[in-house]
Symmetry: C2
């Protein structure tokens, strides 16, 4: 592109429930909050519409290129249909921009299944990784602590090789983005019952335990649902079905607790009368618990960075997603994954021979 020192990020302007307005608003928020970052956005979408809207976002207008994409992938499109018809959509054109080396990352609020399928098709999976995964960091253990959880839904059924790769990629993510030295990694399982039927978890657990000293992370063994937010483990590895349900259970529980809290406070006359004194407490609490501050999910294991935000993303979520994209590009993340794949290749062979 025109300026090689800039970080260039491809943006899918369509696909989110709130449309290009949330997207441009998010880019604007990002540029306002991080004036020091030298970033250029390549925005894919309806050019006429975008140019018109950009009049309201001068900061974005000064830091972007618009590339016209006549079509849009909808949230309800089926993956098998999309692959044939996606060529001219804003999503696929933005993905191909990463493949062609014009952009280093793509951010989209669109259809997750389509985004993953098209990313695999165009950007391709990293050599030696069996399957890319969807991941994010969730709050854990209080303070600013976080836990990396993967897979969040790209792979409904998994085997031990997939989870091996998730552990590898999750630990690199915790190191590079979470700034954790030698992260503690656990495999999600249930505790009280016999482990019948989940033999592949046992096989991977045995392999990791046998080679504990050799691993590039601290392997802690099986962890349970309570451990995800406990703060003692920094990477939790599971299949995409369980991971997706866990992620949404956390969101649902947080929402319910906020509701119970609000209801309980509303019922107290004393609480209402001192509420104005507590405004700053609630503000701080809200910031800590706001899922929008961590709702961006990363597709890892591809030869490029794909950041997926919630379909219902607003400008704040989108701004945070751009932050993820910029951080990943900074961290030289994929070269570290490739190094880890090479380092662990002997162990992988052993795992494959054992099954």
């Amino acid at each position: 592109m025109s300026n090689q020192s800039k970080k260039i990020i491809a943006v899918d302007a369509h696909g989110g429930d709130k449309g290009p307005k949330a997207v441009l608003g998010g880019l604007n928020q990002f540029l306002f909050k991080h004036p020091g970052d030298d970033i250029l956005f390549r925005i894919f979408g309806d050019e006429a519409l975008l140019r018109k809207m950009l009049k309201k976002y001068q900061r974005v207008a000064r830091n972007c290129e618009i590339i016209n994409a006549p079509d849009v992938v909808s949230q309800t499109d089926k993956v098998r249909d999309i692959i044939r018809t996606a060529q001219t959509t804003s999503m696929y054109m933005a993905i191909k921009d990463v493949r062609d080396g014009n952009s280093c990352a793509i951010v989209s609020a669109g259809n997750t299944g389509a985004l993953m399928a098209l990313s695999k098709l165009a950007i391709k999976t990293i050599d030696g990784i069996s399957r890319p995964a969807i991941t994010t960091m969730l709050p854990a253990g209080g303070g600013d602590k976080r836990v990396v959880l993967l897979d969040l839904g790209a792979n409904v059924q998994c085997d031990e090789e997939n989870l091996f790769d998730f552990a590898l990629m999750g630990s690199v993510y915790a190191e590079k983005i979470g700034k954790i030295v030698r992260p503690r990694v656990g495999i999600l399982n249930i505790g009280e019952e016999e482990q019948k039927g989940q033999e592949y978890l046992q096989r991977l657990n045995n392999l990791f335990n046998e080679h504990k000293e050799y691993l590039p992370f601290e392997y802690v063994g099986f962890v349970e649902g309570t451990d995800i937010s406990g703060g003692e483990v920094q990477v939790v590895v599971t299949d995409g079905f369980t991971g997706n349900i866990v992620l949404k259970t956390v969101e649902g529980t947080a929402k319910l607790m906020k509701r119970v809290m609000t209801d309980t406070f509303k019922k107290s006359i004393i609480a209402i009368s001192v509420a104005f004194l507590l405004t700053h407490v609630f503000k701080r609490l809200k910031a800590k618990l706001d899922p929008r501050s961590y709702a961006g999910a990363i597709f890892i294991g591809l030869n490029g960075f794909v950041i997926k935000t919630h379909g219902s993303s607003d400008a704040l979520t989108f701004a945070n997603a751009v932050r993820y994209a910029a951080d990943l590009a900074d961290a030289d993340f994929n070269s570290r994954i490739r190094a880890s794949v090479r380092y662990m290749s002997k162990l992988k062979t052993e795992l494959k021979n054992a099954t």
Copy 2:
């Protein structure tokens, strides 16, 4: 037994981390809170020890019989070993008391796997039910609303017949214990992705949708993790691996949020200075969010009632578990399950023929 009008509940005095003290304390709390209930406890355990401890619990002493059981099932015992050696344990003797018709229910804080295996062995699964399940009610949607979630870990891998039975039993539970007329039932799944690899969920979903009017509950289709605590659905059906992890994720998230709340309040000088005014608010909040008020899990699908409390149960949890046992016995629960099995037998045959 001596008095047939009494409700008689078998109690395993050992097995919980806190030992017989929490058990007797719990029975005492229950009798104190519910003086109107005409209940007799048949307590199985170390008779000499229990008689000595009962001096402190006169209320329990007046309403119990002690049956000496020389051995104890430990939390770490393996199920396959237990089946051979359990005859003289407090857990198995208490279970056999239900089988023999002396007690109508058993309450234990012991090893879940052992309790389920021994219950299946002695009390047997209800005819027409493929597998018993572990279930509980969780807070959902605010107020006093609850959701029935099953299975919580008895069946790590499931097929459509198991989930069919879970829907049947869960809806009876919501009706009889949750007092909900025609409960709304959903199957837990992930939303955004293609459903590859989970064909059995699709098959059951199709069958239920085709026969919606015929079902003895309101079938709402697939639900996601966020819906569990959303309050719109009253029964959520899933395999025991996912259900166990969901249950523990809810517990973990609730714990983390309490911690974040407390930390945030502690950091505010104003909040500390008005905290004494808010004591009753926090008290009410604590009661709403306390997992001990709903930590009892029920084994359903057996020819008798088995109530399992947390291994770490204290007296309050144990008192609530006894409440569950008494309610189940009142509700004539199993005859309703049997009627539902008969009513749905044609549909079950259709499901079996389709696969």
